[in-house]
């Protein structure tokens, strides 16, 4: 039977190989590119193949050796009745690395005006730290992205949204009739049910925006599926409508304080000064975003629904 120190050596060797493999995975191709002097965009084929092969070998060897060491150690422990008194050094390394990685990942990005090749102003104080962590952050995704430890906590930050809105759809049926579909809107739902349906709001937060225009056809298809109740009269076209308002700004706290001071110092205290009213909310704007009016300005234009796909996916 091997001695305990040998199991430890297996594990340490496996660990080192695995870490080298991770470095190779992340930096190998970049390194090969810079060493081969290849022009930007060019891919030195043989070098890249070597990187892929060496990464796989290092990672596989690391995992196998580490697992072998751990397994042999278990066997030895169960035979001798030896009990571990302190956490494994590998666990400690992981915990420390994890703590450092999530800290760097969660820190906010540096402000836009200090970033880039030509920053608008010089960074100061902690902004230097944020500039450095911004550079490190993408590398950390090699650990965070696959494992699910990815995170960020910019909740209602840096500024809460001032966009309040909902969406509807106009559905055109085969027989020429039209119907309005209202995507679940939290404001209209009952107190209990809106707690269960909040995911619709979260989805819409992304689904309505121009950034997610690629999502709109699928969004339209789902609405068509939900509106497909009669096999003889399926939806054939759809229009997606966005209804929104932008919340107007209210009085800031410094302005409020100076207003109160002014009212008190001039001897004219009033309710308006101490509890100022908020601006009136504007009316909702309405905009058809599918089909895109820039491409098809016809107000009667509908986004076509593929009947075959609709019938394939819908369950009547």
């Amino acid at each position: 039977m091997l001695k305990p120190e040998w199991y430890s050596r297996y594990k340490w060797t496996g660990f080192v190989l695995f870490m080298l493999g991770m470095l190779d995975l992340l930096l190998g191709k970049t390194l090969v590119k810079s060493l081969s002097g290849a022009s930007p965009g060019a891919a030195p084929g043989d070098g890249f193949t070597a990187v892929t092969a060496s990464t796989i070998i290092l990672l596989a060897a690391g995992i196998i050796l580490f697992s072998l060491g751990a397994w042999l150690e278990r066997q030895w422990e169960s035979k001798t009745g030896h009990k571990r008194t302190s956490p494994s050094p590998f666990l400690k390394i992981w915990v420390w690395l994890h703590v450092i990685i999530i800290t760097i990942k969660c820190l906010p990005s540096a402000p836009d005006d200090v970033k880039g090749d030509k920053p608008k102003r010089a960074a100061f104080g902690t902004e230097y730290l944020l500039l450095a962590t911004d550079k490190l952050e993408p590398m950390l995704d090699v650990y965070l992205w696959p494992t699910g430890f990815w995170q960020d906590w910019a909740m209602f930050a840096p500024n809460p949204s001032d966009w309040d809105g909902y969406t509807t759809a106009q559905i055109l049926y085969k027989d020429g009739s039209k119907k309005t579909y209202k995507y679940p809107r939290m404001l209209d739902l009952g107190l209990g049910i809106k707690y269960f349906k909040e995911r619709y709001r979260k989805f819409l937060e992304r689904a309505h925006s121009e950034k997610f225009a690629w999502l709109w056809p699928q969004y339209a298809l789902r609405i068509a599926i939900e509106s497909y109740n009669d096999p003889a009269n399926p939806p054939v076209g759809i229009q997606l409508w966005r209804h929104w308002l932008v919340v107007p700004p209210t009085i800031t706290f410094p302005d409020y304080l100076s207003g109160v001071w002014k009212a008190v110092s001039t001897g004219k205290p009033s309710m308006d000064a101490f509890l100022p009213a908020n601006p009136k909310m504007p009316a909702y704007n309405h905009y058809r975003y599918l089909p895109d009016p820039k491409i098809n300005p016809d107000p009667n234009a509908f986004w076509p629904i593929d009947e075959k796909i609709l019938k394939g996916r819908a369950r009547l």
Binding site: T52, T55, P111, V142, G148, F196, K202, V247, T250, P254
Partner: protein, 424 residues
């Protein structure tokens, strides 16, 4: 120079001790119970709209999911990887609704098993990886609460979270394989959750401080105006200055305290109470499901297991009225290991088992009122709740003949029919 390096070694030792020193596993166990219950409720809530979120006829079929976040990533940031790496996702390529529904059900069962602590290591791993897969399958509906939940479940799957407050432990004590008091464990799992909470709040404050509305004291005004978030009403003046500024700056201060002062024991209780108040207000005012429950449940981890245990006993002492005296049948006593396992299920210390003089099991409330022993002991032993169906059998098997009581020859086992009157 030498002094400096000595200090840094001292700091490392301090942090190393903070992270890895041994302590009671009760807090981590209790946190597992709470967070897995939340995970189950969360899954049940989404299951109502399973068709919309996880089926091929929904808003996010496989192709859409892949378009948003590919299963394999060939690069991270500006770095081209040696080969594309996958996300942990057991639903990669799954476009069969039945398969996904079965998978979803398995994750829900794993949440229940993790909550009660049965096959804890296995069930927490299944739950963590299952939740991860479901979240990776549809990233478009996730909010901060889901992210926090995922972090906690992953940590619980790696840490020895079944060492207390679990059926696994109950079985081990029952069979005499484990001592009545849970053995100390390295607290790194609990510490990691504390750190996760602290980093959550700390970076949230930092992010917010970069925004002009948080600085000028108007941020919460905007959130109040977003009608889609509305839940319960509040008086209108709460949406005006200076109350808006009070809420805005109050949020920043509370979050900052939850990241820093919470680690200073004299302030801990007050900081956590202010955190509860803040999340309570958010939960009341805004429709953001489960977020408050997920984050505030992790506050438990700021208390050591010994503190949680003694807090439970103190709480139990306050409920004098519901205390119960159980008298065993004459000639019987609780077997040492099994009795310890049964007593462990009563964290509030509401039930005391004593030798009796009667032929049957008897139970009496603090006021001397007779109670039905099976139901009354089960109700008061919080840890016994998952064992409802087996409780009668367990109690029956937990006793043995008391050899010191030589005259006793016949042993009566507890039955509802033989119990003396009264209601639980």
């Amino acid at each position: 120079m030498a002094a400096k390096s000595k200090d840094s070694v001292g700091l490392y030792r301090y942090l190393d001790n903070w992270f890895f020193a041994k302590g009671s596993p009760v807090t981590l166990g209790l946190f597992r119970v709470v967070i897995c219950a939340i995970a189950f409720i969360n899954l049940a809530m989404i299951a109502i709209d399973f068709d919309a979120w996880y089926s091929e006829s929904g808003y996010v079929p496989l192709d859409t999911s892949r378009q948003y976040a590919p299963d394999f990533s060939p690069r991270v940031g500006n770095y081209e990887l040696a080969f594309p790496i996958p996300r942990i996702n057991f639903l990669i390529g799954a476009n069969n609704d039945t398969f996904i529904a079965v998978f979803y059900a398995v994750v829900m069962v794993a949440a229940l098993l993790s909550m009660v602590g049965l096959w804890t290591r296995f069930s927490t791993i299944v739950l963590a990886l299952g939740m991860l897969s479901l979240q990776h399958r549809n990233l478009l509906i996730l909010h901060g609460g889901d992210t926090a939940l995922r972090q906690f479940l992953l940590i619980l799957a790696i840490a020895p979270s079944g060492a207390a407050c679990s059926l696994d432990r109950f079985i081990a004590v029952w069979q005499g394989r484990a001592p009545p008091e849970p053995e100390p464990i390295s607290l790194w799992g609990q510490r990691l959750i504390q750190f996760q909470i602290a980093i959550l709040y700390f970076t949230a404050v930092w992010w917010k401080w970069q925004g002009s509305h948080w600085r000028d004291g108007t941020a919460t005004y905007y959130i109040h105006q977003l009608t889609e978030f509305n839940r319960f009403p509040v008086p209108q003046f709460m949406d005006r200055q200076p109350f808006v500024a009070l809420e805005t700056y109050g949020t920043l201060l509370t979050e900052l305290a939850l990241a820093t002062l919470v680690f200073y024991r004299p302030f801990r209780k007050w900081v956590l109470l202010s955190g509860l108040a803040m999340h309570g207000y958010i939960e009341y005012r805004f429709n953001i499901p489960m977020f408050a429950f997920v984050t505030t449940s992790a506050y438990l981890c700021f208390y050591d297991g010994e503190e949680v245990k003694s807090w439970a006993l103190r709480l139990g002492r306050r409920f004098k009225r519901v205390k119960l005296r159980v008298l065993l049948p004459v000639g019987e006593r609780l077997a040492p290991a099994k009795g310890a396992a049964i007593k462990n299920l009563d964290p509030l210390g509401l039930v005391s088992y004593e030798k009796g003089a009667g032929k049957d099991w008897e139970a009496m409330s603090a006021s001397g009122q007779p109670k039905e022993p099976i139901a009354a002991t089960w109700q008061r032993s919080l840890g016994a709740w998952p064992l409802a169906l087996a409780w009668r059998t367990l109690l029956r098997r937990a006793t043995e003949q008391d050899e010191s009581h030589a005259e006793t020859k016949t042993i009566k086992r507890p039955t509802v029919a033989s119990a003396k009157g009264g209601s639980a």
